[in-house]
Each structure stands twice: as C-alpha cells, then as structure tokens.
C-alpha cells in the first residue's frame, strides 16, 4: 500500500546527517551538518505519521505543507516536494537551515515525545539544495509585465519575500537597502556555520535575474539617499521591512569601556571578513576574539551566534552569562548544545553588575540570580541572590541583549507614520498596511526582533495585500484614463 511507505517512526529511529566533529568544525565557518543522501532523506521523511491534524504545519509560521512534502520525499518525488515547499515559502533553503525547528515544526511533531521528531528542517534543506543543484529553481518569469511599481525598503527576509511574490505577478519591484549586500541579517548577522553566505548570495542572484531591481547602499532618509516621500512618489506602493537594528544596551557601570561591544557589530565584522571584505576593526583586534577571554551577555540566538563565532576566531575562553536557567532561555536548545560541544561555558542564573577595567575591559563582575515563583502565565521572573557576586576575567565582552527599532518617524520624516510605544510600526494586520495609505510594513520592524520565517510570512501577507492594492490602483488608473 502506498501509505505504508510512511509512518516508519515505529521502526526507523531519528537520524540527522553526519555532524562534523568539534575539533574539525571550530576552525572554520562552514556549516556543521553534512547533507542527507537521497536515500537517507527518504528514510527520515518516511518516519512522518501523516497526521489528521498536522501540528508541524499548524506551528509553522508559513504553514508549510510539511506532511505532504515529506511523503513526496519519502517516495522519491523530490521535484514535486520542492514545488510544494516553494509554494508556501520564498526562502525554504534558508529556513531549512536556521529556523529553530525545535520550537516550531519539529517541536510540535506528534512523535517528538517518545520517538524524536521527524527531521523536518534537514529534509527541507535537502529538498531545496537538490532543487538548486538540479536546476529546477528558475528565476521568476511573469506572464506579463505590469507597469506599476513597488518600493521595498530593506532586503531582509520580509523584503525579499515581498519582492519575490510581487514579481511573480509581474509588478515592478525595487528593493532599497542600506548595506552593500542583499540579505539583511541573513548576510551579516547570522554566522556562516549556520548559514553559508553563498546560499544567501544564490538567492540574491536569482531574484535579480527574475527582475527585482536592488538599490544597495541606499539608506532611505539618510543624506545622499532618497527620502521617504520621494520614494512614495516613485512607486505605487511601499513596503517597509527595515528590521530592528538598535542594540539593546547593557545598563551597568563600565559599559563604555573599550572591549565591550554590541553583538551585531561583532557578528557583522566576522561575516564581512568571511565574505572577503576589508574590516579594519577586526584586523586591529577590536572586533576579534582571537586570543581573548570572551564573555557574551544574553541567552538568545544572537548570543549563541556570538559565542560560537568567538570559538572559531580562536578565543582563549568563551563564557555565556544568562540571568535565567537553561530551561528558560529564549534561544534554541539545539544551538546551546552545539555551543557546549564546541567548548562554550554557560554561566546560568547570572547577570553582569559591572564591567571592570582601566583602559579597556578586564573583567565582568556578576551576581547570581534565582527564579521567582511563577506568575499567572507560568513565567518565572529572575531575582537577585544577595551577596553572591563573583568575577569573570574578560578581554572582550559582547552584549547580546536584543534589538530595538530605530526611530523611523524621524528617519523618514513622516510624522503620519504611526508607531507603537516600543517604536515598532503599527499596521492593520488584516491588510499589513501602515497608517499611511499605500505604505505597508512587516517583519521585525512590526513585530520586534523575531524569526526569519516570521519575516517571510509577513512579507507574503503584505505582498498579497499590495497585489490587491495595485490591482485597485490599476483599475482606478484605467478608469481615469477612460474618463479622460
């Protein structure tokens, strides 16, 4: 029976592709997992239970049809699997690599408890890498070109999703980004061992070939770049997907000392270096961990990226300071595991009290925390443990406490643009439109720091709405033309 191919979890155990040994992988920025062989992928995909209510699908922000393409993979129908996967996701090869599957699809897989989840992310990566290799993935070729255009601010996941979706319909798409490369955090934020840079570049090229026009180094509202108002007059619709870039500052004494750096600056330098750019701050050592005792403050995915980058840069020691315990950290458990394997020391239930040093940072004074009684939502707030201070030596301190939005109202000079008290742009979720007609937004700038996949979801939702908006505009336009 055809269905018999599936539901093999009862006999086939979970198995990831080969993971490179620690002492091998800590010396470079290559990805740490090998790719599945086709047979291995088919076998792992066949473990899927083919649920009546697929919780993986429900908990996937873009509602990937996971059980369906798992079945197709198990049956060796990779091209169909890819088609179905690509139908709901504009950057599946990236999601397959960096989604925290353990909190999304895989974490909700019904066989997770007791049998270990289906390795959904790895299969997704396999399907899409295969698709690229076999040349199934082709640049967009819309049936017809439409004259109306859209300006997309930000070439991160949300912006790229918007661009891809709208190009399929034949609209003219211009993407503006302040950086010199496409990808946003995907290119400069996420280290290569999680997402090799040529993967992002490959997607960039593909979009370009499909007719998306990128305007790089273009920081809307900044001197030398077009202003927001100008952009609006150029395009029939605008999408803001600028992300959140303002690092949440460490608020303890000594934060101004040299050697205390924000995470993004640290990661960007490292990524640029890998891409072959000239990065003086790295070369001179300010943003390099080589030969240093490193302390990273924070417990999210960015913190994990920092500690693992530091290891690869040749740090003498890497410690991660987090005020809650392992169970309550926001970052992916899988990343913690990798970091631990690679030699990172986690200092749980600890918060920095001060950074100590003369000309530059020499140590972190920290204090122990404990978790209070849970509140009604079950979350436990950390409390200080009196008289529990201790010192950690540190040559480099990386603050990875998260990101806040920049002040877009000022940047764009648009007082009409409604923002929340946290600075995120306020939209109508049913249309993804901001308070300004024809201006849409999505991704981190709306949600606050979030996942790549949520950015894609927002981009797709916004694209659908922009499409309707443009159709309406076009209709009006032709009505006007007829009237004239």
């Amino acid at each position: 029976m055809a269905a018999d191919k599936m539901m093999q979890f009862v006999s086939v155990p979970q198995a990831l592709p080969h993971k490179r040994a620690v002492d091998e992988r800590v010396h470079d920025f290559g990805e740490i997992y090998d790719r599945f062989t086709p047979a291995h992928a088919a076998q792992q995909a066949s473990r899927c239970e083919q649920c009546g209510i697929p919780f993986c699908h429900i908990h996937c922000p873009v509602q990937n049809h996971i059980p369906d393409w798992l079945r197709m993979t198990a049956e060796g129908r990779l091209e169909e699997a890819w088609e179905l996967n690509a139908a709901t996701n504009n950057l599946p090869e990236i999601c397959g690599r960096i989604c925290p599957q353990d909190r999304l699809c895989e974490g909700n897989c019904v066989i997770e408890k007791g049998f270990n989840a289906v390795t959904i992310g790895t299969v997704e990566r396999f399907i899409n890498d295969t698709a690229f290799e076999r040349g199934w993935i082709k640049p967009n070729k819309p049936l017809r070109e439409r004259p109306q255009s859209v300006g997309v601010i930000g070439a991160g996941p949300a912006g790229l999703a918007v661009a891809d979706q709208l190009r399929k319909e034949g609209w003219q798409v211009h993407v503006y980004d302040r950086y010199d490369r496409v990808g946003g955090l995907m290119i400069y934020g996420i280290p290569g061992f999680k997402l090799e840079k040529d993967v992002v570049v490959r997607r960039w090229r593909l979009l370009e070939e499909g007719g998306v026009q990128f305007h790089l180094g273009c920081d809307i509202g900044a001197p030398g770049s077009p202003g927001f108002a100008e952009l609006r007059s150029r395009h029939d619709a605008i999408f803001i997907g600028t992300g959140v870039y303002k690092a949440r500052a460490l608020q303890v004494p000594g934060v101004g000392l040299p050697g205390v750096v924000p995470a993004l600056a640290y990661l960007t330098a490292s990524n640029r270096k890998s891409l072959g750019d000239d990065v003086p701050a790295f070369d001179e050592g300010t943003l390099s961990a080589e030969g240093k005792h490193v302390v990273v403050v924070g417990g999210g995915d960015t913190a994990m990226d920092c500690v693992r980058t530091a290891i690869r840069q040749g740090a003498l020691s890497v410690k991660c300071l987090y005020r809650r315990d392992k169970q309550n950290m926001p970052g992916s458990m899988r990343e913690v595991k990798h970091a631990e394997e690679e030699g990172v020391e986690f200092v749980w239930l600890s918060a920095p009290e001060a950074f100590i040093g003369q000309d530059r940072v020499e140590a972190v004074r920290a204090i122990r925390m404990r978790l209070g009684t849970p509140d009604s939502t079950g979350r436990q707030s950390p409390e200080l443990v009196p008289d529990s201070g201790f010192r950690l030596p540190a040559d480099l301190v990386v603050g990875a406490l998260g990101f806040d939005p920049e002040d877009h109202v000022t940047m764009f000079g648009e007082p009409e643009l409604k923002v929340s008290r946290w600075g995120t742009i306020t939209i109508d979720w049913s249309t993804m439109q901001t308070s300004m007609p024809g201006v849409f937004a999505g991704g981190d700038i709306v949600r606050g720091a979030s996942l790549v996949v949520w950015g894609i979801r927002d981009g797709r939702d916004a694209a659908a709405s922009i499409h309707r908006h443009l159709l309406a505009c076009a209709a009006d336009g032709s009505a006007l033309a007829e009237a004239a």
């Binding site: 539901m7 179905l84 019904v110």
Partner: protein, 1516 residues
Amino acid sequence: MQELPMESGEAFVRAYEANRAMLEERGMYAPEDEHSSCGVGMIAAIDGKPRREVVVKAIEALKAVWHRGAVDADGKTGDGAGIHVQIPDAFFRRYVIDTGVHADERLGVGMVFLPRNDFSAQETCRTIVESEIIRGGYQVRGWRQVPVDTSVLGEKAQATRPEIEQIIIGNPDHAINCDTFERDLYIIRRRIEKQVVAAQVNEFYICSLSCRSIIYKGLFLAEALSVFYPDLRDEKFVSSFAIFHQRYSTNTWPAWRLAQPFRTLAHNGEINTVRGNTNWMKSHETRMVAAAFGEVNEDVKPLIQAGSSDSAALDAVVEALVRAGRALPLVKTLLVPPAWSNRIVMPQEHADLFNYCNCVMEPWDGPAALVAADSRWAVAGMDRNGLRPMRYARTSDGLLVVGSEAGMVPLDEAMIVEKGRVGPGEMIGVDLLAGRFFHDTELKDWLAGLKPYSKWVKNIRNLEDLVGARPFEPASYERTDLRRRQAQFGVTVEDMELILGPMVQDGKEPLGSMGDHSPLAVLSKHYRGLHHFFRQQFAQVTNPPIDPLREWRVMSLKTRFGNLGNVYDEDPSQTSILQLESPVITTTELAALEAHFQRRMRRIDCTFPADGSESLRVALERVRQEAEDAVRGGAENLLLTDEDVGPDRAALPMILAVGAIHSHLIRQELRAFSSITVRSGECMDTHCFAVLIGVGATAVNAYLTEAAIADRHARNLFPNLTLQECLARYQEAIGQGLLKIMSKMGISIISSYRGGYNFEAVGLSRSLCREYLPGLVSRISGIGLIGIGKRVLEMHARAFGEGAPVLSIGSFYRYRRGGEAHALEGKAVHQLQHAVQTDSYSAFKRYTEMLHDNEPISIRDLLSFAPKNAPVPLDEVESITEIRKRFVTPGMSLGALSPEAHETLTIAMNRIGAKADSGEGGEGKERFTPRPNGDNANSPIKQVASGRFGVTAEYLNAAKELEIKVAQGAKPGEGGQLPGFKVTVEIARLRHATPGVTLISPPPHHDIYSIEDLAQLIYDLKQINPDAKVCVKLVSEAGIGTIAAGVAKAKADVILVSGNVGGTGASPQTSIKFAGTPWEMGLSEVNQLLTLNRLRHRVTLRTDGGLKTGRDIVIAAMLGAEEYGIGTASLVAIGCILVRQCHSNTCPVGVCTQREDLRAKYEGKPEHIVNLMSFIAEDTREVLASLGLRSLQEAVGRTDLLRQVSRGSVDLDDLDLNPILANVDPGPHPRYCAATGRNEVPDALDARMVVDARPLLDDGEKMQLQYNVRNVHRGVGTRLSAHITRKYGMAKLPEGHIAVRLRGSAGQSLGAFAVQGLKLEVFGDANDYVGKGLSGGTIVVRPLVSSPLVPHQNVIIGNTCLYGATAGKLFAAGKAGERFAVRNSGAVTVVEGVGDNGCEYMTGGTAVILGSVGDNFAAGMSGGMAFVYDPDDILPSHINGEMVISQRIEVPHYEELLLGLIREHAVTTGSPLGKQIVHDFQGHLGRFWQVVPKEMLSKLAVPVTLAELEQAARRA
C-alpha cells in the same frame, strides 16, 4: 412498565392526522419511507380441487405467526392481516339466486372498502363501480354487506374502519372465457380506481375484483381474522389455495388498505430497489403495449399508483404482466430473478433464461419471500439472496404448506412426505389446473422450455469484443492544461495523493479513521463538487446490507446499452443489446462505443460560457432540448461531456446535467429510447460515480482522472505498472466501491440502482431538486442554481486566470490551514487536554469559546437559543452528578482502542454513574467484578454487533444494557475487518479467535434482515438477560423516523441515533465522508415520528456524533435526546491528538493501537474523563440556567426554544431548518421516556421451564423435563440459561445436567445462548436461529420416530443457525437452511446438508456436514474447520476458496476427530446416514473434504497434510 395515560381511538386518529399533515408539510416525515414486513404463507391443494381444509388451515396458520406482527398498546389493533382464497361459488351464488342468474353463469366478486361515515361519498363510489362494470359489458348482480364482528377491533382500528361490501358481477355471455373475464375485471378495476381518485374520495379501496379469487383483510390481529369475517367460518367457504399474511409496520397508523395479501401476491421483506424500479417503470410504460389489452392499454397506466408501498408496487407490476398473459412463474423470474452471472453453477438453459430476463427488465431486488397465485399457478419464491425464511411441507394427502415458519400449520408428522425450504432465488409452485407440484429445478426447466431463450441470448454483444483490437488511447493533457482543468473541478493535491494514488496502487479505496470533521458542503466556504451534497443511503433494520466482498457472486455491475423494449413482448429483439461488464469505462472503451454507435450516439456539450452571458438555467434548458431533439432524431445514446471546458467555457456540474436530461426524457416519455453516457472531468472517487449513476447515467468515463493517472504514470509514480494496468486498477477500485455503495442499500444489481436516487440531498435547493432531480429528498433546502453557477465560475476564473494554476492542497480529509475548517483544530485539542489535565474549568471554557468562534461546520451551528423564561440562578439547576448520568462513551471496541484506553473510559464512567459502552468485541470476564481498589472496569452497556465477537451468555448477563449496533456512523451499512496484525493474544481470547488471524464483521446482522427479525433478537436478548434494557443503535438518514417507530414497536427500550460524523477505527474514506446524515436531522425525525405514533414516551432517545460542549448537549436535548454520547472529545481527553491513523496501528499516544511499544506511551487517566464529563455538565447547567430551565429533562423535545440564526451563505436559495424544528403535539403523553422499567416481552415456554427447574436452580439437582413445543415458543432454553448462568456461571454444570425433551416444531431461536449443562432435544423440527450465540449448551434436533421422512433429504432446521456461537454442540438429523454456522467461533456441529453461505465468517469450532452445501460455502472463513461429505463431488464448484483450502483428509488425527463427531451424531439423533457412515467409515472417507482457513494452516497444533506432519516430526 407503569400504566401510561391513554388516548381514545378517535382522539388518536384526530391528533395523528393533524400531526402528520403538519410533518408532511414542514417536518422531517416522508410517507414513502414507511416499511412493513411480516409473516407470510400459502396452503394449496396440489390436485387443484377446492377443499374446506385449505381455508381452515390458513386461518390456523395465521394464529401461529402473531409474533411476526406487532400489536398496539390497546392489545387489539394489529398492523393488518388477511387471506386470499378462491371464490367459493356455492357460497356467493345463494346471494344472487333471486336476480335471475343462470346456473352456468360465472360470477365475479369484488371486495370493496368504502368510506364508512360519508354516505354521499359511498354513493359516489358505488355509482362509479356500477357504471364501470356496465361499461365493461358485465352486469351488476348486487351489493352484499359483508358481515363483520367489530368486537375484535382495537379502538384505533375501529376509528378508521371502512364500510366493507362485496359487489357481485354477472357474466351472462357464456362465450367469454374465464381469462377474458378476469382481464376485463382488471381493466374495470383500474378504471374505477382512476375515477375515484378523480372524484377525490380517499377511503375507497378495492381489495380484489375477480371472477376467481377474493381477499379478506383488515386491521386486526391475525388470530381475529375469522372472528371479524364470519364468512370464513362458513363450511361452504372452500378453496384450492389460500395465501395468508400478517403485517408488521413501522408506524402505528391504522390504515386498512395496507394490509396484505394484494391481488396476486403477498410479500415478506422489502424491495430495496423500489425507487429505481418505480422510476424505470415510468420509462417502460411508454412502450408497454399488450396485445391482450387491445385498445385499452392506456387505461391500465400508470401501472403503479402514487403512494404505493414497495409490495403494492411489485404486486401492481406482477398483476399487469399476468393479466397480459404471462405465466405467473415467469413473471416472478422476470421481476425477482436469481443470481446467475458470477460462477454460479446451473444448467445453461436456466442461465440463458435469466440472462433473457435481465435484458427485459431491472430486477426488483431485496429481501423477499413471495407467495402468489393466479388462475393457474400458486407459487412461492425467494429473492436472490434468500434473505427471508420460507419453509414448506407436503403431505401424503396432497396439501402443500409453505410459510415463514415451519410448524405454523400443525400437520400429522406421519403424513408428511417432504419437508423443504425455498432457497435463494428458488421458487416452487403448484399447477392447479394440471394438479402438479413443481420443485425449483422442475419449474425452471419448464420455464426455460417456453421460448428459445438460449438462441435469443446469442444476440447479446459484449463491449470487450468491440474493444478487442482497437488501439489503447488513454486521455491525456499537457501538464498545465491538465492542472487548469483539474482546478476548474476543484481537484486538490489531497484528492490526488490520498485518494487517487492509493486507488491505482492498490486497486481499492483507501481507508481513514476518526470520522468527518469538515463542514457540511452547504456550509463550506470553499468550492465543493455537487456530489458532496449527496449522502448515500443505507439499509438498517428493515432490510439488510450485503457483503460485497464475500458475497459478490450475487452482485453484478453488468450494464446494458440498448433501447428498453416492450416488457410485454417475448421475442428475440429484446436481446439485441450491447453489454458492458461495468458502467465505469475508459476513454478507449468509449472510443469503441462511439465507433459502434456512430451516428446513433449524439454528443451533448455540457459546458457554458465563462463570461456569465448564459445562466446555468439557460444552459440546462439548452442541453435538455438538445437531448430531446437528439432522441427524437433517433439517437440511441447520448454522450454528455464537459471536455470542452477551456478559457471561455466553464463546466456544467455533470450531476445536474445528467439529472436534468434524465428527468426531462422521462417526462417526455423518451428515456426508454436512449442511454446516457457521461464523460465527466469532476468524477474521481467512487461516490461521484455512484451519484452520476444514481441520477440516471448509464455509463461513466472519468477522462480527467484518467489523464491524471497518465500524468502520474509518466512521472513514474506507479513503478512496475503499465498505464493500462493502472487504469484497470482504477476501474477495479471504482467497481468495488460501487458494489460497496449498492450493497449498503442491499442492492445487488446496478441496473436496479441506476436512476434510483438512493441518496438524500443535504443542502441542495428544494426547487432545484424538484426541477432536475425529482424524487430526491432534500429536507433543509440549500444551494441552488445561482450559488452553484457563481461558484463554478469562481473556480473557472482561478483555473484559467493568469499565472500557473496551482491545485489547492485540500483539507477535506486531513486538516490544512487555508482549506476546509475542522470541528476540532490543533489549538482546541491542546486546550481541552490542558483543561482536563489541570482540572481547570476556566481552561475548558476557553476551549468552548474556541469552538464557538469556529466557522459553521454542522447544522447546530446555525441554531441559537430562544429563551422563553427569565434565567434562573445556577444553583437551582440540577447537579453535575445528575446531568453526568445521562452521558455515555459510545461503543468503541477493544481492538480499535488499546486496552488501557478502553478501561480508562469504563472506570471513569462507572465512577460518575454514567455509562460506558463496551463496543464490539467482547470484554474479559475479569472485568465483570470490581477491582480491589474499587475501580470497576465492567462496561454497563455491552454491545451486540454483527460479528457477535465474544457475545456469550456470561457477557450478556454482565450488562445493564444491551446495545444492538445496527449501523455505525462512519460506515453505515458496511462490515469491518480486524486485520490479523491487530489480533493480539488478548483480543483473540476475548473474541474466541486465533491470534494473528483476521476477523471479519459482516455488514448485516445475519439474524436481522427485517423488522420482525429485530423484534426476535430483542426478544432473545431480553430472555438471556432478564433485567437489561435493550438499545438499538441506528445511524441518521432520511426515513430513520419510521425505522425507529418499528424499533420501538419491537420493544426496544433505548434508541440511539448516531450522526454521520462518528469516529471509527478504519473505514473507506468515501464512506466516512458521504454516508449518513447529521444527527440533528435524524434525531429530530425520530423524535417527530415517535411522537406522532405515540411511541415516544415508551423509549429513551440517545444521540451521539461530535458532541463537545454544553451547548451541544442542550441542543440535542431540545431536538429530542435524553442521553448523550461523547466519543471523540473523550478520546482527546485521554490523549488523542487526531492523528487519524487508527487504521495503521501507529497511534503515537497509545490510544488507538495494539502495539506494545505504542501502548506504553499512553498517559490517559480516569480523572481526565471525569473532569471532561463534569465540565460538559457544568457547561450544560450554565446554558440551562440562562434559559430558565432547572433540569435537562425540561429541555427535552423543546424545539420551540431554538431558532435559526443563520441561513448560511448569501448565495444559497435558502437553508431552512424549520423541518428540524417542527414540533409534534404529544397529546396526553410526555415528550420524554416515562417508562421506569424496561418494555417487557411476553413469556414463552421458558416461564414454565424455569418453574419446573427449581430443584436445579436452587439445589443443583440433575433433571429431565418434557414438553410439547410449537413455533410460537421462541427462544426455548434461553431464559433458563440466564438463570443457570447467574447461579452457576456458563461453564460449570456438567454436560446434560438438565435435559429438556421437546416434541413438535420449535419456534425461532431454539437454544439461543444456551449454556453448558443444558441439553435441548427436539423431536420434530425447528425454525431459524437454532443455537444463536450458543454458549456451551447442547441442542439435538431429530425427526419424530414415526416420521416416514429420510432425514438427510429433508430440511429440519432453519436459516442462520449457530450464528455467533462460542461453544456448545448442535446435532441435527436433516438439512439446515442458509448461512449455517455463520460467524461460529467455537461450537461443534453435525448436520446433513446446508444452504447457501454455509460456515461464512467462521472463526472457530468444527462443522461436519453430511450432505450437500449451497453456494459460496466458507466465504470469509478465517478460523475453525469444516468437513463435508460430498458423494456428488459438488464442493469444488460451491466453495468460496478466497480464504480457505479444501482437501481430502490426510492426517489420522482428523480422521479420528471426524469419526468421533459422526458417531456422537448418530447416537444422539439416530441418523440413518450417520450410522451408515460410522459403520463403513473407511469406505466413506474418500468422499469427505476437509476445509481449512489458509491463515490457520501455519497455526494448527496438528498439520493437515502428511508432508507437514512428517516435517514437524523431523523437527521434533
């Protein structure tokens, strides 16, 4: 039962008429749904000479079948009884002697019911009758007022009693012979009937108008016949034959005319195909011109009067054919032919005869024991499946007695020369003119010789011959084009992957589980094909479904192309037809057809402009006109196709196009001249094929599906299969599916299914149905042409719009976001689990909010409460504890559920005083007593399902309620199969089976083929457990109300109406999705009909099917339910996350699996269920309080507290729930069950036996008792077994500890559930169901010593003996009936011949058959062993070898076993054959076959072949 208030007969009739009129107009009632069934029989003098004895014996016989009818609460109003006899000339002549009648003049007599109270109407009728007689050329010799004794009438019968008169007709023209006189009287009667209808007189009815015979019938108990009609007691009242009938109806409406016999026949059973047959008769009539009727052919049409019952309709057609000059036996064969086409062994001449009959007319199919008589013949015949009992005896003084039961007419055993039965498709008859008796074969030989049928059937051509050498040309489209077309028809990825892929791969439909959670089609926000609005109907109680897998030999998909001819004709032109093996045709086959028909096949384009310039209505008018023109222009075949869809053309829904054309051609009287072939793009699953054929298509070609298969094949998705093989498998899967869908209705032959509208429409506009699908029931109306047109165009725009077409992913079967909503979605599942795990009512409320926020999915989502009172404080509402007692966890078997989950449910429900249902499959004895920690895992409700697994006397006695599962929501009308890998050691123990061996549940209960059979099973169950109530589980469908009324009359205490959404462990996907209707519809219909018939207060109503919240409970109460089954929510509470892989045995949470490793994952606790039930109860209390009600009882039946708040989407014609909300005035009775105890059944012989057996029951003494027995003594030994079981257990007493010797004909269910220690010994014979559920007892049936019969040549026990037996012995010196030892799992038996389907589904025990076996022996037999003595070497052609092997006995172990059993048989029964075989065992051994299930071969302790035996010895 307590005394209930009574209404007077007059008040009842008034209230009934008012209520019925209201329901017919705006309720759920449809009079055509009513059923009746009965006891029937005939006595004939073989020499054809009238005798007084014949009449006397018939009257006596009626007194002995009273239990096959029903009695009203007044104890006197029966459902009708009557007798059909010859006109005793001497009797009537004296009344006309003064009118100048010549002594030689032949007299005709009419028996007439006139309106009693309306004298002017009476006069009108008399005038019509007289003037038509005179117009016909005859003379009126006077009216005679028939004397009647009304003292025997019940009040209700009295209130509706007609004036009964006879008209005597003279025939002064001596030249006119009797046949002409008779035919003229027929025409006169038809004219009178039409005139009376025109005169708008309702209560007029002619029982008979004949010069040969007369019918006396009425609404009294059968025994009162001769009291009511003193005529019958007159010594002058003589006849050469007498047909008698006792009716059991599903209503209580006292309608005199519905009593039987009818003019030619009396019928026990039900014509399943009556809808299709009556529809086709309309088409046949056009061309029916009988030479015999000359100028007046039109006067007899329509042959079938509107509002006829199935039996009356059949009678009308039989009568017309007989009057037109056909021999009665031929008419029976023509209308109710035997099965003949599939590997059934018979003489070629017989097969040719039946083949000829098949060319002339669609069979009237369904359980039918028919007795009929005309001027020459008296015949008794049976349907193809032999689904009713019919026994006969011939005496040495020339009497033939035939009837539903043996022993109805006491005969002197010493004078009986033959005892037999009429088997499936058989017929016996008496030629009264020649004075000769015909056995079945003799009669068929005679018929086959009437015309050169064998020559005629050579005219038949087969499609295969046309296809022959043609090239293979599958449909195919380029990929994008294919997708666009698929998108037009709403095809989804799910359809392709979940349904089509497996169909091609495996050649059968895929399975699913957990019921249907997606919205009704009419409520869906998404495009749904029109077939989604059709719900398959199915047989329950009043007729049985068939097993299409094991009993396919009686079924056929053979489809004929060719004009319908003149049915009256008998000539070779009738056989010039083209025959197809199946109505499912490939494109290649269609091409062959086109080549064959050429210009006689006309193509009709079923597409319409996509720009909306032509409305759907206009388009349908166009195709109708084109069809009409084509047929008038000589087209014999219409090809309806939608392949012209494209950017500018959208597809007409093909079902609508077929319905429109089919109905139009019928109206134009053209349907008989053309076939309708369909080429449809939408058609993919079996259901869609069934709907197309059901609305009139002759053959169907699913070209787009074919192209999709070709596309998948091209993508190498079917490795190792050629495309031709792929298509063949698909055809095979659809064919199997069609058989399954037909078999649900009990229909065997596709030609009788075609055009039969065996569906109920849910959510289709009533006016649309009236116009295009006349005859299709659509009670709540719904989407019409406007909505359908709009949705089709929307799909078209998507399909042919810009951009690549993408098939939607689907969410119909399995949830996908953006597709169809599901009643329980992921969040709600987790929320409910969180609530019950943390005992948090507020969390539960969040869950109910989630459900209430969901989009409408079921009918109740369109309803809201309309309070009449101010709210009351919550603490004034009855307690949680009270409310919880009304909750039930519905039947989920241990076999589907893991033992852990099964026990959790039971323990929890027992803790709160609620009820858990064991489900099918038995329950371990260890669960019958509470555990040391106080937990009680004994299910209060024990299910009795068709498989009867583990249904023992002990099991039945451990219950408080016994539930007869007639149907199951997920797959009503279907059987089930527990695959071998799920039969663990534990399950095998409970089900008395072998681990690892497949267990099959048959579709029907083999002891319920009819309503009176259900009454018998209820009787048996109430005998074996003297305290337990009996519940009958039905599934919601149109007509369930009348079925429920019949069930209530059969003395059920509880009726469960199950909704279509119901959960399941495994069922074909299309069955889950398209069979049955929502419980809201069925429940309200049942409540309305029970109230109408004044039966509501005598039964408890229960419902289930997706009940999840307090709101659901209160709505169910208002629609009539008092108890509520909560299934899926219970499973979710103990961990189910709707993975829907129950059928795969891979449940990851251990709820629905038998795998040890998965069961270990189970985490459910009784507390979770207790919490769930408490939360739902509390939620219910809150709703009640808000409505100002203080208890749930106050809400029962209060539809006035509900109102419709949504009429669905704006593009619907209307969605009208008023039929559901119609409120019947209950008169003086309450709207809920007022009975405190159970509805008791009358005592039979066991009441006496139990008294006489006190020494045994009190002190354990060994005893012997002796009685005379008659057929009215049913279930002998059963009540005694109940007492033994309770005192000693069912396996403690030594064998034969109490011996009961009986003399005579034992009634049905002799020794049912008899336990060890009881030995029943009958000298005489016995009826059906001997040893049903035998639980260790011994039964011996042998002829009386004085009988001259040769035992092994005569029938001694009836049908369906040892059904579900688990242990014990049965020895019978004679032949048994059909379905012997069906589902036997442990009994040992020796008999001397069996009928068809012997040892079917057997899973254990040993059967020795010293004589012939009928067809389809050992079908579905997966366990046990059979030995057949076969001197004529017929077994190889009669055995169904799919699951068994047969071989000569090789191993000595089995020789000894066999010899031992035959020896025991010979000793206990005195069987001469037995003695002979024992005497020379080695001499006979070579004539024995050993029949062993294949699955058992490797599991037997002693192998059955010498080779294996030696191998085993070597290994040892």
